[in-house]
């Protein structure tokens, strides 16, 4: 009588603790999808109950539920911290009402062309151009860059940045659905759809793993028992088997690691479009760069002023004035350099007459003197003796009244971090760094030598670049990948042909964001090495988790088979390992 009372009490407690698991397990059986962790738990605890191990059955259920609770917490927390990281969606935009007062409206309702007001401390809700005001913007949410960016009238601003100190009036240039903030969010969210190989493997693994473990447990329960006749011991060992073998640690931690890695990277301005690209990037042994706009700034600036007889400032002033009526890019570079050095604008009023020779240069009258300014062909035309510069680039020669005054060299300059970028790649184990460019041989060789690139190919047409990348793919290391880094202009075919296409995002260029697998929001070549570092770290964490979880489980399974493991150890091997794997996965979010 007493015995039945105990059993009744035990069953009440058991159902109270485990009803959720029981319900799920039976529903799965009804749906024809029997094998999952709920099923394993139900079989294990039913077994314990049947053998009269009441305490054990209840404790297993209680601990499993506690473990589940913490898992849910951990997953919810990591979801939240990733979401916080990407919290760049603006809540409202201020528009001016009829009486000049400000109204808060949903950014989605703001039409292109509307002027919005952004107060200090507010997030920029939409992309636009500043009509009025100047301020500093915190772009960290988009680029990870901690230095605020100074903006003034006429500058573009991007949604997701934060206005630090000035009041801005901004004319909206893009609807909310196409704004930078929306595009980045979509991109990172969609990243979860492009699952990595490791993630797919785990899903497949889980599908076969549970039935196999159940089969093994059945074998452990039956075969030795038939031989030894000791059913109680072997059935108990089989139950431990079932508890150990829950695949949770793997099926949660692997997708979590991928997502954390992608989330962490996006906080540094590196947008990765999927776990598969993260995986491919971690194996890059060849990184191919486009030159202009990628390793170099893509704008021409004055690199040298070599006067003969007069001062550098004088020579620069002459050239800037002479070219001031030309709309050639060179004229702008000269004016910029003049402004930078003297803090003065070019005085166009001094030009009395102006004649341009296309592809050669200009001949002008300035202050009553004949000023000739252009390339070697112009010098020959006007019959001035000139000499070349040892520097490569575009050389502008200057002469006054037929007397040679010197030359100015204009070239596309390397980005500040280009040299470090190549060094960092070498440190990351990238064995081949290659540069492809449509530029001339001498310029390409200067840049390649200066940056320390392994190889360069000059005077390449866009289709040559595709062929070259295919060649590099054919000769890459076993199991390695080739990454191509471009600025997204004319690069689309190469970006898609390479194993991993990386685009310089130059915040706002939709084409680049579209074509590439990875987008660098900062336009910094050194971020390629950062991206590889993040990819490698994430993949290392994933493999750590896979081996750690499987290792512990196999170990406990073996111990259980020989009778050295009890139910407590089994619970640890399931729930404990899962918690550790989740904590490890979250490390992928933190990037120094």
């Amino acid at each position: 009588m007493n015995k039945y009372l105990v059993l009744a009490v035990v069953l009440v407690i058991y159902v109270a603790v485990g009803h959720k698991i029981l319900r799920k397990a039976f529903r799965n059986i009804k749906n024809g999808q029997i094998f999952d962790e709920n099923f394993l738990m139900v079989v294990a605890t039913f077994g314990s109950l049947a053998m009269g191990e009441y305490e054990e059955a209840i404790m297993v259920m209680v601990l499993y539920r506690i473990g589940e609770y913490f898992q849910d917490k951990a997953v919810a927390k990591s979801r939240r911290s990733i979401a916080d990281l990407m919290d760049i969606r603006p809540d409202y935009a201020n528009i001016e009402g009829e009486n000049g007062e400000l109204q808060q409206v949903d950014p989605e309702d703001v039409e292109v062309g509307t002027v919005i007001t952004i107060k200090p401390g507010e997030r920029v809700p939409l992309d636009g151009v500043i009509e009025e005001g100047e301020s500093r913007l915190d772009t960290a949410a988009l680029t990870g860059e901690s230095m605020p960016r100074t903006v003034e009238e006429g500058d573009e601003v991007y949604s997701g940045t934060i206005n630090l100190n000035g009041l801005l009036k901004v004319k909206v240039t893009k609807p909310c659905s196409e704004s930078t903030a929306t595009r980045i969010l979509e991109l990172v969210e969609e990243a979860a759809d492009n699952k990595g190989k490791a993630e797919k493997f785990i899903t497949r693994f889980a599908r076969y793993y549970t039935p196999i473990v159940c089969g093994l447990a059945l074998a452990v329960a039956v075969i030795p028992s038939l031989v030894t006749g000791d059913w109680a011991t072997w059935v108990h060992r089989a139950l431990i088997f079932l508890v150990v073998s829950c695949p949770c640690a793997l099926v949660i931690s692997v997708p979590l690691s991928f997502f954390a890695g992608i989330g962490g990277a996006s906080s540094k301005g590196v947008l990765i479009k999927g776990g598969n690209y993260l995986e491919a990037l971690s194996k890059a042994d060849t990184v191919v760069f486009d030159k202009t706009g990628t390793l170099t700034k893509g704008v021409f600036s004055v690199v040298a002023v070599h006067p003969e007889g007069i001062t550098e400032e004088e020579l620069l002033e002459l050239a800037a004035i002479a070219e001031s009526f030309s709309d050639h890019p060179i004229s702008k570079s000269l004016a910029d350099e003049y402004k930078r050095r003297t803090r003065k604008r070019v005085d166009k009023g001094r030009v009395e007459s102006f004649e341009e020779f296309a592809g050669e240069g200009v001949v002008t009258i300035v202050d009553g003197k004949k000023l000739q300014c252009g390339n070697r062909r112009l010098m020959e035309r006007v019959g001035v003796k000139w000499h070349d510069c040892h520097l490569h680039g575009t050389t502008v020669h200057i002469a006054i009244d037929g007397r040679y005054e010197g030359h100015i060299v204009i070239a596309d300059v390397e980005k500040d971090d280009a040299k470090d970028a190549i060094k960092a790649l070498k440190n990351q184990g990238v064995s081949r760094t290659v540069m492809l460019t449509g530029d001339k041989q001498d310029i390409a060789s200067d840049v390649a030598a200066d940056l320390g690139l392994d190889k360069y190919y000059a005077e390449m047409m866009p289709e040559d670049k595709v062929h070259k990348v295919e060649e590099l793919i054919a000769t890459k290391g076993e199991g390695k990948t080739v990454a191509f880094v471009g600025d997204g202009i004319n690069d689309a075919p190469v970006l898609s042909r390479s194993d991993v296409g990386i685009a310089m995002g130059s915040m706002g260029s939709a084409a680049a964001v579209e074509a590439a697998d990875i987008v660098l929001m900062n336009d910094k070549p050194s971020d390629v090495a950062l991206a590889i570092r993040i990819a490698k770290k994430t993949m290392r964490i994933i493999y750590e988790n896979i081996w750690f979880s499987i290792g512990i489980k196999v170990l406990v399974l073996i111990l259980a088979a020989f009778g050295f493991a009890n139910m407590w150890l089994a619970i640890f091997a399931d729930v404990g390992v899962c918690m550790l794997a989740i904590l490890n996965a979250m490390r992928a979010l933190r990037i120094r």
Binding site: K24, Q33, E37, V75, E189, T203, R207, P255
Partner: protein
Amino acid sequence: MKKSFKVKGIDCANCAAKLEEGISKLPGVEKATVSFMTEKLTLTAADDKFEEVLEAAKALTKKLEPDWEIVEK
């Protein structure tokens, strides 16, 4: 047409995989992905069949796990 929805209540990666597999096999579905991390279903199907397919996906979700719900974002 490709559209994404929120899947409320999805609490394990294994279940997400199960749901993804189930929805992928529904007639009319070109591609379906369910992400456990973002609690998101991305469904691709022909424009004229989309509503129909979505209804079937919702019904399947309910059947697999009454706690889950597909909602428009």
